[in-house]
Symmetry: C2
Subunit: 159 residues, 2 copies
DNA sequence: GATATAGAGGTTACGTTATAACATCACAAG
DNA sequence: CTTGTGATGTTATAACGTAACCTCTATATC
């Protein structure tokens, strides 16, 4: 499996199914509740590899009969992020489904500035700023890395 | 010079002066205007090594007789960021003065979650996600890296 | 069975962050 | 002088995020 699912051809149907199945398994093991809103929120994120704003997710949830107010979306997304099923893209104030849940990892993304698709890259946990952190006496708890640029298909269309 | 000025003792007075001088030099060379608001905004950021929100900077600018409305701050900060005198910390929706202006670099930070001080780390331009990006055919234009954790002094006070 | 208690989801109301669109002014080029 | 460009200011509003409160349901406890 390539590390950049977001930009490559893949069986998206099974990609979605696998992620939902993984979430179900993980929640069962951990005694977490993958409730209808939470599950639906994850499905919504999984339907595209694009980053979605909380309010976009909210609109979808509302249409599906869940609540219509911001906390509904923020709480579902918070659950997904806290448990590693999704990541927050700081740069876009948006969220994406995690493409390799289960693996302990720091999120690292390639974000297409043209189509807003997002691919998650491999980033060995903690390795990156270790030198500077040790030198400074700083204790790193979490690292995020976000690269902005152009994905393969947008390089062809959008200068 | 250490790479983590934000967390270590240093001559802050000359640190500010140097940064202002560097900005003046750079603007003169490039035909950019380091106008009063812009210069003042940079001074405000330089006064602390903490990340400041745009509205905090705005309040200071307002008190100093500049405009009082958001675009005043956002435009000054945008100028500073565009020209490498400051960086935006995505995670905090906030801004810090650059501690090594002039050097071509991708911003990389260590952010103390307790005191909100920010130290800029060394991050060789472009190196970070190159492997994943090449594999995916993604062209990186800019990368940001943000590590959250505890700075040396907060490790002592704040568990 | 009655009743606490905890977790989830819904609401109202509000706070924070950011930008679009427009008016004015100063200065340089023609 | 007038035309254009860049900077600064304004009003108004968009986009993002959360605190506080109420209700429901499922489990645990009496």
């Amino acid at each position: 499996m390539t590390s950049a699912k977001g930009f490559s051809q893949h069986d998206h149907h099974s990609c979605v199914d696998d992620a939902i199945a993984a979430a179900e398994r993980f929640c069962a093991e951990q005694g977490l509740q993958l409730t209808p809103v939470r599950r639906r929120a994850l499905e919504i994120l999984l339907e595209s590899h694009q980053a979605m704003g909380a309010y976009d997710v909210l609109a979808r949830l509302d249409k599906d009969g869940f609540g219509s107010k911001p906390p509904v979306a923020y709480r579902a997304l918070g659950f997904l992020v806290d448990n590693g099923f999704a990541h927050r893209i700081e740069r876009l104030n948006a969220f994406v489904a995690c493409t390799h849940p289960g693996a302990e990892h720091d999120p690292a993304f390639m974000i297409c500035r043209s189509c807003h698709k997002v691919a998650e890259a491999e980033a060995p946990r903690g390795a990156l700023l270790k030198g500077s952190a040790d030198e400074a006496g700083f204790v790193i708890e979490q690292t995020v890395m976000e690269a902005e640029g152009l994905c393969p298909s947008c390089q062809r269309s959008d200068v």
